[in-house]
Symmetry: C2
Subunit: 230 residues, 2 copies
């Protein structure tokens, strides 16, 4: 409750933190898109660009944590600002992991482009589209402080889980058909798993938005529209 809480410098620091998070979110979203493009178009150059971009995401993580810590140390924010800043430190971990997982997809793409394509990647692209939409909506919910929209993201995590399980089953079938399919099948199974993990991180993000806006911690509560807190 010191006077600095309302000054313009402080407000602009909070706005900076927020913008940096959103920029990082947009960047990792781009990494998902390009990692999948490198897979589908069998384009190693695109894959390598994704892998190189990960270093920037790592830097942003460190910077955002520093900004947040500075704000906590020098501004001693109260209530909702405090929630925003500590949330930023959680969100940044999820975004950084999404960057890592996109990089992993790109790495598998490079390996896969060396061999004939096992089969069309229709379902994987569906999974990726669903995951990307979850991330986009979670970031939009963060911008607009829209808890309902954030909770809707969370509900969609189950869809991705189901898609992942289908893909997994189909790949297992192909791997049983021929030993020649085993390595490619494993790589594709891992790509599906990476996407499923990105959806989990988008879910974390949406849970953070609900906490930010409403102060309700909905982590580890059932993901049904009728869910009633923890």
């Amino acid at each position: 409750m010191t006077p600095t809480h309302t000054d313009k410098q402080y407000e602009s620091e909070l706005a900076n933190l927020r913008e940096k998070l959103l920029l990082m979110g947009a960047k990792v979203e781009g990494m998902i898109v390009d990692a999948m493009r490198s897979l589908v178009e069998r384009d190693d150059a695109v894959a390598k660009m994704v892998i190189e971009r990960d270093a920037e995401i790592d830097r942003m993580e460190v910077e955002i944590d520093e900004m947040a810590l500075q704000l906590l140390a020098l501004r001693q924010p109260a209530a909702s600002d405090l929630r925003f800043i500590t949330n930023a430190m959680k969100i940044v971990t999820d975004l950084e992991r999404i960057g890592d997982l996109s990089t992993n997809i790109a790495e598998r793409s490079v390996e896969l482009s060396k061999e004939p394509q096992l089969r069309p990647y229709v379902e994987l692209q569906r999974e990726a589209a669903a995951v990307r939409t979850m991330l986009r909506d979670a970031l939009d919910a963060f911008v607009s402080r829209d808890a309902a929209r954030a909770e809707a993201v969370r509900e969609r995590d189950r869809e991705v889980d189901i898609l992942h399980r289908q893909i997994f089953q189909e790949l297992q079938g192909l791997m049983k058909e021929s030993p020649a399919n085993v390595e490619r099948g494993m790589r594709l199974a891992f790509i599906s798993k990476y996407l499923e993990r990105i959806a989990d991180h988008a879910t974390n993000l949406s849970e953070a938005v609900v906490f930010l806006v409403q102060g309700r911690d909905i982590r580890h509560t059932p993901k049904t529209p009728s869910s009633t807190g923890k």
Copy 2:
């Protein structure tokens, strides 16, 4: 710099937070051990106990975050206490994920116990032992505020990566030998991957300890003894 910074109530709150984190760390360490025991001894009852314990870990995560947020809101801690508290909020995320991953190991164990054992789990047990030691040492380094010990944990992450890759290759070989090996091979490959991820979380933890003690952020810096900051 308010007078409350030195009062006994505050000190005991910090001590509580620290103890709760350590308790959570000990519990997830126990989950790794029991998850591997359920695999090796093919004991579904042990696996189910691991899976049930995950709910307690989830509760602890929420409680620790609440404690940390309360401390930040009411005590406005400065410098090293601030670092400790924000660190606690990062560490708790890693511990919670270790709980999840141990649960995943237990789930795969239950599936695997329904079929004949594909082969002895010698290498997986070696990987699990290495991972568990990393976690134990990271927690010990946290207790004793020993940055050198924490950095040593981080160096061992590479050993686990190498072990994981070996296991992965061997399983791929078995899966190519016979379609009957595919499902079990996949399950075991995922267990190895879960362990490798637990090692990553132990690494995060050790990096958090270095930051806590020395204020140096060594995330995303090379893992060599001669590494020089970022």
